[in-house]
Symmetry: C2
Subunit: 270 residues, 2 copies
């Protein structure tokens, strides 16, 4: 699943690893969720105990690729105390007065947290690039900055898990249509989605360039035409990453026996 320079983009409808049937996928999602919740508690406890590590999930993908659905179905399996979710929209005028990494840095997960970026600093190379607003020199500079930023995060104890939710234009067509015809889904629709859809090929090309230039921290390409598969695979990647981080409950910095004895002597006045 990890993207290397020579990986062609997978078919968005395939199941390269793990379950290949919906029922199986949903069952495995719950199992991955339990593992995730358990390991997340240890990471959180480690943070409370003075640890500095955290996990950052970066979600990228075309409109309707399921970033929101992933958050709901996968991060919904984890204690909300340990999750810090941020959606990065089109920068506001106030945000635009700063460097593009400014608003990103302000939302980094704290020790013990799982941060979730619904879109991210990658939008700052993706969108202006497709819109022809970056010179080759500026693009190179942004790649350099982003790679340095992610190295800096790793050094500070933040493991970055980068996920691209990969859908087909046919599946996007169906999902955009569903958003238009279903009244309670209409709020998710934005006319600008069609502008991006019209530039589908340019976006895919820009993503391939991003994967090639920023894979020092690996990209994971998740086939996302099937929602159940996407949910399972992201849960699996998160659980696997947490497992590799191997977070530990901190050792107590107090004498357990003494505290137990003290607990029995602390009177509670009526």
């Amino acid at each position: 699943m990890r993207f290397t320079k020579d990986t062609p983009l997978l078919d968005p409808g395939v199941f390269p690893i793990g379950p290949d049937k919906k029922a199986k996928g949903e069952k495995k999602l719950l199992a991955a969720g339990r593992l995730l919740d358990e390991r997340q508690e240890a990471l959180y406890a480690e943070g409370v105990g003075g640890g500095s590590r955290s996990l950052l999930l970066v979600l990228q993908g075309m409109d309707t690729s399921g970033k929101g659905g992933t958050v709901s179905h996968v991060l919904g399996l984890v204690n909300p105390m340990g999750v810090h979710y941020t959606a990065f929209k089109k920068p506001t005028p106030a945000e635009r007065r700063h460097h593009y990494l400014w608003r990103v840095r302000r939302q980094l997960p704290k020790p013990g947290q799982i941060g979730v970026f619904d879109r991210s600093h990658y939008e700052d190379i993706l969108v202006p690039r497709v819109q022809g607003l970056l010179t080759a020199e500026e693009r190179r500079r942004r790649y350099t900055e982003i790679n340095a930023f992610e190295r800096e995060l790793a050094e500070a104890g933040t493991t970055v898990l980068k996920v691209f939710l990969h859908i087909s234009p046919e599946e996007q067509y169906k999902r955009l249509k569903a958003r238009l015809v279903t009244p309670e889904k209409r709020w998710k629709y934005n006319p600008a989605d069609l502008d991006a859809r019209a530039q589908w090929g340019d976006y895919q090309k820009a993503y391939l360039d991003i994967f090639a230039k920023t894979s020092a921290t690996p990209w994971h390409i998740v086939p996302a035409d099937h929602k159940w598969y996407r949910n399972w695979l992201v849960a699996h990647l998160l659980a696997e990453t947490l497992d590799e981080m191997d977070p530990r409950f901190p050792e107590p910095d107090f004498a357990v026996d003494e505290e137990l004895a003290k607990l029995d002597t602390v009177g509670v006045p009526g």
Copy 2:
């Protein structure tokens, strides 16, 4: 459940409304959770559509009263996209250089969000009061400021739901003991918890004063000796509050028919 000047504190082990058996309570929690999730999506959509409303849950209670457990079991039923959780710990030196409401204002929910405060600005009257660090004049000023702050939130569109998780000292004893004897719970234990426990009566008195002086935005006293009852009641209060807010999916600001037609003409280059 709403606290008025003459309400005595309920027994923390009773079930004044709703289910009176664990199995029933757990079933009703899931039902409340489904309603909560549904209404929360409408609130979120309203926010995306330009609405300004949000909901802020303020959780207070003695150590081990179940603030964290409530977040895990109740807010865990809601899409994490719409939840902004903040734990307020003992202020850091940097925070102490600001007014005590400064760090609170920075964590207010954005439009469409449910904010959760695990402890809150009430700690800034509770703790210094019990420790004898506030003059009567300073205490009065803080009450005035807090009431003005909550009025301001209401005017800005934030509905504040204030919940006190009420446990008995006997139940706290059991829970503190469990934290000490269970290795994977030890990280939740803090020796300072016993200092607060030793001042149980002073804390209860300070809370009663808080309820009396800041009930313009009502306090809800939740009997919390039984975790399943606490979970159900907080979920019920949240669902009821959201229901009263009656959030609405926004009307589309585009012509649905035109967008449907346009969708069919937007070609996707290979």
